[in-house]
Every structure is written in C-alpha cells, then in structure tokens.
Amino acid sequence: MTAQTAASTVAAGCAAPDQAAPLPLSVDLEKETVITGVVQASGDPVAGAYVRLLDRSGEFTAEVVTSPAGQFRFFAAPGTWQLRALSRFGNGDATVDAARGVNEVSLAVA
C-alpha cells in the first residue's frame, strides 16, 4: 500500500493504515498528536505485534499491528497515554506524555 492509498483509507474507514508508510501529506503536525515508535524484543524489531493505546483511565482507545520494521503509529491528543504491546515473543508496556507533533516511544516486549 502506498502512502496515498493509506490516506484515502483513513478518509472513510476504521482499519489501521499501513504502519510503514510515511506520514500522509494531509496530516497537519501543528494539529495532530502523533505517537510512534518501534516494538523490540532483545533489541530486534518485532513485526506483526499488536500495539494498544490506552487512555489515562486504562481504557482501550486504539490498536494497530506493527509494520515489517516493527513500527506503530497513533493519532491521539496531548496528554498521558499508555501503550501495551502483545506479541508471540511476549508483552510489554510503556507510558508517554504526548504533546502536539511527533512523540517517539520505545516499547520492549519480553
């Protein structure tokens, strides 16, 4: 899938856009709060892991599957969020205090 089709996917549906694609040009980083990173097990990226974004009360907000390079990406809002990864190699958690723009998070599973 190209970045262009990822952009058209997000216009109507709910399926997760391609996590490996660059940010679509339509994404305005002065308005969007992007939370992104790589899931790793023993330092190696984990493809096909399920990454869940939980709000400050721990409630589910979104889930994506990591790209072949282990990448994930969410469009959230400024504030504190929890990340939880599920994979065949184990699970892992992280917390992020996100601000507008791109927020990079590392997420290890074991």
Partner: protein, 282 residues
C-alpha cells in the same frame, strides 16, 4: 441466539478447516492482511469494495449481494465462519450484514485474526477458488438496522449505546486514535446515550468475555432490558461488535445497529449533541 450458536473457537476452526459445507471468510478493510496469509481455504471480502455501494452511501443491494456470494462460491446452506483483523470489528459487521440479508448459518471466530496469530496457528498464502453458486438473499431484515430518524426518536426513550472510546464519546477525539483527527463532523455523542466502549466486551487477545462478565457489564452501565436498544460508533463496525454481543451472545431482543453512526449523526443539521463524559439530557 447464544454463544454456542454464534461463536466458534480457534480450536474448533482449526479442526474444521476442510469440513464440507463450512466456508471461512476473512473480512477486512485492508485486504493486504489476507494476501499476506489467511486461514487455509478462506475467501476474502473487502469491507468497502464488496459490501458498500460504490457511489452513494449505502450497502450493496440484494441483487448485488447475491451476485457477490454466488461468484465467491458461498451457498445458502453453507455454514459461514467470519473472522478478521481489528478485533473482529469488520467480521462482526459482516456477520450482521449476512444476517441482514437472511443467511441461515453464520458464525464468528472468537478472537479473529489476532488470537489466531498470537497462537501461532497456520496461515496459507495459496489462492482460493470456489465453484460459483446460485445464492439467493432475502430482503433486508430491518429489525436489526437503525436509520437516523430511528435514532433521533430514540433519544431519552430507548437504550442508546455509544461504543466508541471514552475520549470520542466526550468529544475529546473525533476518530479512533489510529486515524488522523481532522474530521468533518462535530464532536460529542447523542444525548442520553450510555458510554459502553466495545473494548469492554473483549479480552485483549480479541476473544469475547464470559457471559457472566458481559451480563454484568451492560447491567452496570444501566441498560434497561424492557426497552429496545440501538448501538452506534463512528461508521457502524465497532457497534456491530456490540450488537453481536447483545443479540447473538446474550440473546437480548430488539437490538439494532446504526450503521450511519457518528459520521452521519455528527454531520446532521439541527440535531442535539452532548459533550463531556455524562450522557446528557433529552
């Protein structure tokens, strides 16, 4: 309906992959997941390409649905087992859609693709061809589909259940957080709708919670079983998941899915909208 009649486990599915009269159907919006590996013998349905009218906002009609299933090799007496990504959102949507057009025996694979993958069960990249059939659909069963006027009339009268995330309900987010937040519709929820996120009905591996847990969830949320119920989300797929729980697992009566959901309601001129974490007044 009940859990036993509506759901199959991954173990059951793996044992029945080649069973005669059983058709596995993977349903996703982005079918690259299917192309990268699917349950052996499963056909794919594309949520948008196959199930939505290509021009106006509505479903394919009865004749188009008949043509689709005939060409994909699904027969009226087949047991259709649906599964997919996104915690079975789109598979649950397809389940509801198959019921809308009157298919007899439909089941959902508990946990969908996620559980199957986390269990490291086998996936196949082989192309799947099934001989064409002469599928006959029924007229839409509108007892399970709500339209915008039904929803407006239900404010303060019926159970309205908003199954989106708490931040979408309150109006702090306009879409699920894997999508950009620039959206055309207004933020918030339908006044008097109760917030019961779809995710509260599922375990983190995508399987459904137990009957006892599910019964407690909706009772604690304040659902009144003496009233009819309408579930909605943003585009109608997460609310299909909750419709499935209420009507097909718990066997509640008179539950409808509002497929127009927030992308329609939040764009309507003049209808009431509530902001914040409380249901609001009619």
């Amino acid at each position: 309906m009940s859990r036993e009649s509506a759901l199959v486990s991954a173990d059951w599915a793996e044992k029945n992959i080649a069973a005669p009269g059983v058709v596995f159907v993977e349903v996703d919006e982005d079918t690259t997941a299917y192309d990268g590996g699917h349950i052996a013998g499963a056909i794919k349905l594309d949520w948008r390409q196959d199930l939505q009218d290509p021009v106006r906002r509505d479903f394919v009609n009865k004749e188009q649905f008949e043509a689709l299933l005939s060409s994909r090799g699904v027969a009226n007496d087949d047991t259709v087992v649906l599964y997919g990504g996104n915690n079975n959102w789109f598979a649950a949507y397809a389940y509801w859609y198959f019921k809308l057009y009157g298919h007899g025996d439909v089941k959902l694979l508990d946990g969908g693709r996620k559980k199957w993958e986390l269990d490291a069960r086998p996936l196949s990249k082989d192309a799947v061809e099934r001989p064409a059939t002469q599928y006959v659909a029924q007229d839409q069963d509108l007892s399970i589909r709500a339209f915008r006027d039904d929803v407006v009339k239900a404010i303060g009268v019926q159970n309205l259940i908003d199954v989106r995330s708490p931040d979408e309900y309150a109006g702090r987010l306009l879409a699920p957080a894997h999508l950009p937040q620039e959206q055309a519709q207004r933020a918030g929820h339908i006044p008097t709708a109760l917030s019961v996120p779809w995710s509260k009905a599922a375990n983190e591996d995508g399987t459904f919670k137990s009957d006892a847990e599910l019964t407690e969830l909706y009772a604690a949320a304040g659902i009144d079983d003496s009233k009819d119920t309408i579930a909605y989300c943003r585009i109608g797929e997460r609310s299909s998941h909750t419709w499935f729980v209420l009507q097909e697992i718990l066997g509640k009566a008179n539950v409808k899915n509002y497929d127009g959901s927030w992308t329609e309601y939040g764009s309507l001129v003049g209808v009431p909208v509530a902001l914040g974490d409380e249901p609001g007044k009619a």
